[in-house]
Symmetry: C2
Subunit: 198 residues, 2 copies
Amino acid sequence: MGALIEIPARGGTAVHLDRGRSIKVINTHGTQVVDTWAFNRDEPAEFLSMEHLRVAIGGIFPKPGDALVTNRRRPIVTLIEDTSPGIHDTLLAACDAHRYRLLGCPEGHANCTDNLHAALGRIGFAAPETPSPLNLWMNIPVGADGTVDYLPPVARPGDYVVLRAEIDAVIAFSACPQDMVPINGEACIPVEAHFTFI
Amino acid sequence: MGALIEIPARGGTAVHLDRGRSIKVINTHGTQVVDTWAFNRDEPAEFLSMEHLRVAIGGIFPKPGDALVTNRRRPIVTLIEDTSPGIHDTLLAACDAHRYRLLGCPEGHANCTDNLHAALGRIGFAAPETPSPLNLWMNIPVGADGTVDYLPPVARPGDYVVLRAEIDAVIAFSACPQDMVPINGEACIPVEAHFTFI
């Protein structure tokens, strides 16, 4: 296993992941949502797509063994292992400047959309759009009436997810800076997470 | 009320809808799913976005009175009226050539993604991507375990939805050509739908 690499609190990072290699994403404190994206390294307009993933897996919760697909319906990463209870979100857009403005925050609140594009930029990769992310550990139950709720993660400190690349990919993470609704724990304090290549 | 305009079975159409104008979409036979998109006429990269809509309305089922938002989180259309039981889908991607290939169909099956871009092209509008559509009358229940099912619409013949434009918009419809799973009725026979300006 490689060194632990930090996803800084409220920040993002992006890395290359060659086909066949795996990455372990760790919920270091158990309370943090990690927005996750995957792009085809050779064709940035192909990326992990939640609306295609839900068709492919027949549901809203990816499980170990599931191939997670792109907007061209082919696997880009496989969810190999998940030590957490498996509660992740595939429904909600990444937070952005508009979201925090609507929540009444002053301008300049950190957000996952800006984190994504800044992180990609640091490795010289440009995404043509902002795909809806796989929000690891984000706990958004859907009621029988279709309403959604925003609850803290049910993960434990150190819980992790392993993703294996099925094509040469760029993977990006954002430790979600949401501190207005309790998706990052009741205390609403975003913290760092980690990952490592395995 | 204007003339009834057909959305041909397995086909698509796109129209301009000025701010403040409304359009009535009619499930003529009650069994047909109508994939629906809305774009900012002046900025095609801004469009009705399901992942942002779910945040804005706090759920997966839009209801009369809901402002349906773009990927910049501002209203583009308001759902004014819905005579059907309100079961629509916001979760699943538009069908495309990849989908039918994976279902085992020969090449060339009509699909909503191609219908969208062909319909937009006929009015001289180009969309930079294929947003996930508002699938009117598509009945995709989400189980308590997060699995989704594909069921026939619960609409009645003549049920309709009224959408009012909140900005100058382009609206596109596709009468979904899905005939491999029973989303367009148990008989799996896609049929035409209609719309009219009101």
